[in-house]
Symmetry: C2
Subunit: 374 residues, 2 copies
Amino acid sequence: MPMDDGVGLVQAQTLHFDQPLSLECDATLPAYDLAYETYGSLNADASNAILICHALSGDHHAAGRYSPEDRKPGWWDNCIGPGRPIDTNRYFVVCSNNLGGCGGSTGPASTNPATSRPWGPDFPMVTVGDWVRSQARLAEALGISCWHAVIGGSLGGMQALEWSIRYPDRIRRAVVVAAAPKLSAQNIAFNEIARHAIRSDPRFHDGRYLEHDAVPGVGLRLARMLGHITYLSDDGMRARFGRDRRADQARFNFDVEFEIESYLRYQGESFVNRFDANTYLLMTKALDYFDPAQAAGDDLAAALAPASARFLVVAFSSDWRFSPKRSREIVQALLANKKQVSYLEIESDFGHDAFLMPIPLYHRALSGFLEAPA
Amino acid sequence: MPMDDGVGLVQAQTLHFDQPLSLECDATLPAYDLAYETYGSLNADASNAILICHALSGDHHAAGRYSPEDRKPGWWDNCIGPGRPIDTNRYFVVCSNNLGGCGGSTGPASTNPATSRPWGPDFPMVTVGDWVRSQARLAEALGISCWHAVIGGSLGGMQALEWSIRYPDRIRRAVVVAAAPKLSAQNIAFNEIARHAIRSDPRFHDGRYLEHDAVPGVGLRLARMLGHITYLSDDGMRARFGRDRRADQARFNFDVEFEIESYLRYQGESFVNRFDANTYLLMTKALDYFDPAQAAGDDLAAALAPASARFLVVAFSSDWRFSPKRSREIVQALLANKKQVSYLEIESDFGHDAFLMPIPLYHRALSGFLEAPA
């Protein structure tokens, strides 16, 4: 464990919810578990709680390590901890695994009580709205009636936005990073190809791969490789990998030849070992469906009218998955409502991945926004 | 057949070459066929011949129809024909299927004389340089000692560029459309995922699928769907498909839901029926390897020094596969050599696909450039 160990050792917890949850797809989950972690201490009036919402392939393990031998800390460890932008000396930080996930919350790999077999493809489709409602119940269980802030990047930012609309009285600040008010056709196209790759893998078995003791690894690997193209910028890839070859000469075969190929294959491989294919399908559909303006006549400003939180919207110059233009749509809709919003567009070569990076300006903006009175 | 039938009915031809061809990968093809088509008539001094080079998934059928019932004409029919920008009343137009292709030229699906079985994965890797040398032999066979112009879009533009370097005395004009002097890491990444999809399809059988009477359709379909994302622009997709659903309501299942999904699946499916997977692998590697500057110390200007053709370089504003920036690299290198070059950057929402579209400004520039004295 490094010297500067942030929140140090952490433990995941699980809460069981017995009250049925009606989902937007019209199905009802009779009961479910939410896995979550907390860092820091809740103060006496429960006014210092921050909810972190995770993105497509994230989970509730946002900071710290499970053991001193742990090779990697949580996915946002550089941002959460004592003295870090989301300062655990001041805030009580909560991060839960989304419903339908594969990190411990009830999802497709969990047992369906109706059949005593894994849910698999029968797990109902969950939406950003469903997640937010399940997180609201978690807040109640933890005694948090109003979040100091709800924070998320990418799909996590969409959850923060949804929180601000759905529960305006229960969120004082919303931080929406590298997100969009809805997916573009191109975004949906990438998701569709990822899903197609998974679902056409012969080992997918119509989603019942667990019962066949199989893993649709070919499809999941392709989905992840494709995802990584959209997380990095062209310039960032050029800077990091260029056209560097692993050998001096052209090989004239199909082995890994360029560094970028090696990177993608590695990323694909390690994802297969940690992520569930049905969960990936669900998360990408939740992304496709997210469109808070739809119910308000395709008017985003009208959709955001109920919000009362203070907003920080952050975008990164080289993010082409959810470009600054998409963030500015959110900002414009907030301004049209005369909401309090700060917008920060950060120069970065990291592409969409920038939202996970310890970029000083980004981190300073985050801590400043959290400290300022709401 | 429509009223304005362009070049009308055409027939593919095949030339057999007995002289062995040494390839850049060090293998030698003992003999090979090139399939090609011609439109218009060669004049007495053979000075009016134009070579069209095709892109990744193209072939030698650039214009006309094979029968009156033919549903679709050749891939660049809107540009080639009597009175069209590449005017067959004036020019003798030649288009050949690249070596390694699947349109009639010798390729992986051809019989390997050494084994009497399909070449399959044993077909040697071919490069842009190899193609140009095989096209030079075709020119000799047709009695064309100097092309009026060599024209290509995308991978075809790379061939035009290679022609200008390798055979400066045999090409008076080079038209390089929507191309790049070499692939970026992101370009290579897309190719790698496409190859990975094909090669990890269980029906690929290590490239010997023909002998197994199989088609790696899952992988080829994914490769094509992915390709189409890179051919269209984000804005163009939005204009054409938006987030339009095929049904009013969210389905909450994995059926085709958005129009863009339907489009991609259709494109993927029809590609499987017409294209060979091993050819796709070869063509993407030829793209990855293309880098004429490499042999000149990574100095593109030095690489282009031998060229004596007049150049027209065309790029399209929304092309993010080979963006205008990449075309300007070519233009700068030509200007550094004081070569004659015209550069045209066209506003278009069509993305990379724009190079196939009948955009008036583009077509006028093309015909004007071809008519002007070299």
